[in-house]
């Protein structure tokens, strides 16, 4: 029996007089990939930030693995590996040094062999691993960030626009890694503009419109979500 890892229950967020999230509810099962789509200002990033505890809901609840975020932010964050949209990491450090640094701050101990294996998994060229990230492309930096998330072994991976700025090859590589992670049991919650990429890998796709969950699409069996259907709904959801 699958159990939900992430629950948004009647979540409302207000900024000033504006309601950014309006009574949205959804669940994400363990090992699923859930993609949240929407236009600019629809509330996608706010939803992520609410689960991270950076944004306080005015009502409703954000729950991760049974932990109410608002009640115990640190415990909830302990369940999450987060990749912000511009995950530059530290440009002065190499891939190894970045990973070691973040793991030491998270007080997680991993051997250098485990770090190398993780970088192998994300297919980062060995000769690049000791170079500072200032010489990396965005796709390579994303790989390092994913390797870090894998090493943290967090049950939930939150991704904010992970493929923006990546070339098609890098997007394919990235999606392959995400699918492998999900197959290994990691729950992935991503917000993105990339309708086709989301439909390619997600088990479920939610469409946000002006802070409201306009519709949710679900893949059935081996059949992927129809990108055309989502795209059409996305277009219809945009204000004319």
């Amino acid at each position: 029996m699958t159990k939900s890892l992430v629950t948004a229950s009647k979540l409302c967020v207000e900024r000033g007089n504006r309601r950014v999230l309006d009574n949205i509810s959804f669940t994400i099962n363990k090992g699923d990939i859930f993609a949240l789509l929407g236009g600019n200002g629809a509330g996608k990033s706010t939803t992520l930030l609410t689960f991270l505890g950076f944004v306080k809901p005015s009502s409703g609840e954000a729950i991760i693995n049974g932990i109410k975020v608002e009640e115990d932010i640190q415990a909830a964050r302990g369940q999450i590996a987060y990749l912000p949209e511009s995950a530059n990491l530290y440009a002065h450090l190499s891939a190894y040094e970045n990973i070691e640094y973040f793991l030491s701050l998270a007080q997680i101990s991993r051997s250098s062999q485990e770090i190398s294996l993780s970088l192998d998994d994300v297919k980062l060229a060995p000769k690049m691993r000791i170079e500072p990230l200032s010489s990396y492309s965005k796709g390579m930096r994303q790989k390092v960030a994913i390797a870090l998330a894998m090493l943290r072994r967090s049950p939930l991976l939150l991704l904010d626009e992970p493929t923006s700025g990546l070339d098609p090859v890098a997007i394919d590589e990235f999606n392959t890694i995400l699918k492998a992670l999900a197959d290994a049991g990691t729950t992935i919650f991503m917000v993105t503009h990339d309708v086709y990429g989301a439909c390619e890998i997600a088990k479920r796709v939610g469409l946000l419109q002006q802070g409201k969950m306009a519709s949710v699409f679900e893949a059935v069996g081996e059949t992927k979500i129809s990108a055309e259907a989502v795209h059409q709904a996305f277009r219809q959801s945009q204000p004319s």
Binding site: L52, R77, Y82, A87, L89, L105
Partner: protein
Amino acid sequence: MNFRIAYIIARDEWRYWLRSRLSVAALVAASILIVAALISTITQVQTERTTRENFQAEAINTFESQPARHPHRMIHYGHYVFRTPAPLSVIDLGVDAAAGTVMFLEGHRQNSAVFTPNYSSANAGQLAELSPAFAYQVLTPLLLIILGFASISRERESATETLLYSISVAPLELWMGKIIALSGAALMSLLPLSLGLGLAISAGEHAGVAAYMLSGYALYLLTWVFIITAVSSSCQASSTALTLLLAGWIFFCIVISPVASGIASTGGAYEGKVVSDIAVQQALRGSGDGHNEADPAFDQFKMQLLQQYNVESIESLPINIRGMISKNAEEKQTQILNRFSDRRMEAARTQSRIVYWFGLLSPALALKNFSMNVAGTSLSEYQRFQHQAENVRFDFVQRLNNLHAEQLSYSDDINRSKDHQSEQRTRISPVHWKMLQPVAHHEDNEQERVSESLPHFIMLFFWCVFGAIWSVTRATRGAANAA
């Protein structure tokens, strides 16, 4: 708060600096500058100390080796006292460059301190007197700004701040990490100061006073560490943080000091030397001529003496009336001179007090005032030198007047220009010339220096507390900005 996490962040900050060309260049340049300032000031102070001590010894020797003379001629022969540099002037030259270093002491006058002839010959202006105090007060904050302006804003710009918080690093741990890193740099910059203080201790300074001075500088740099992290926490962009910090540095370190001096000069203005000298001369005119026992100004004094010794005429007195008149005149004139001198000093102190309050607007000025007072290179110390020099002057003049009154007969004195033998008898033995009192050393007034610097230290302490509160407040608020 988990200090291990803060330490890891601090270690990475150092790693960042060591891999940044700008930071390394700033660290190297600042180190060279501070060490150069220290070496040049030590050399300058030691040269000055040796020169002035040699001059002082020579002046005493010259006075004491004068041949047999009339004591009043010795009063006008006079004596020089030199202001020797305080041991801590290797750190802070203070008013040394602006205040005179040597004073000619003679009867009936209070001369101003002037400069030794070789003092200014190699002085090329303000930069030629780049002291460690200047380096720490003005340049080290600039180094800290270069190192730390982006400490937190950089994390925000690269979105690593949210990444850190998402792995349960608390905003206060991030803040503390940056504080530890920047404080470490500040602490390292204090190493040359510690060397200078060690040298001052070996030159006779009290270790406690040296440690007190070090703590003042440490408080100042810590204040800057707090200010820098507060601004860096408040800004979304590092460029904004740098602009604000540079504006603050210009205000605190460059602008406030001359503005304070200007306002103090206006607010506590006192008459210049010419006006003051005219007023002194007018006041002295009524006090009588001590060289002329017939001056009516001394009639009452003469009557007192005659009554005291129960004689009818001044010729019958067992003492020389001329010496007594001279002594009495010196006492009256000195009272008048001291009155004017005290007025000038009080006006100067009023100006200092105005500048003191400006320390509330600038930690750099608070440190400057603190440093000069502890070092013994402040206006107060200069005024102490003036007081001591005046005491030396009054003491040897009155001793000579006593010799005049007690060792010389009145008849020889009045006939010395007419009769050679009388003239010879009015010359007293040079053995009497060994009478000069030394000027007290700086090392002997540490209590005064500490007590005078304490208000400035308290001001620095409050600056530091204010900086800490501001910084920690901004750091925790900054966490909201991270999202």
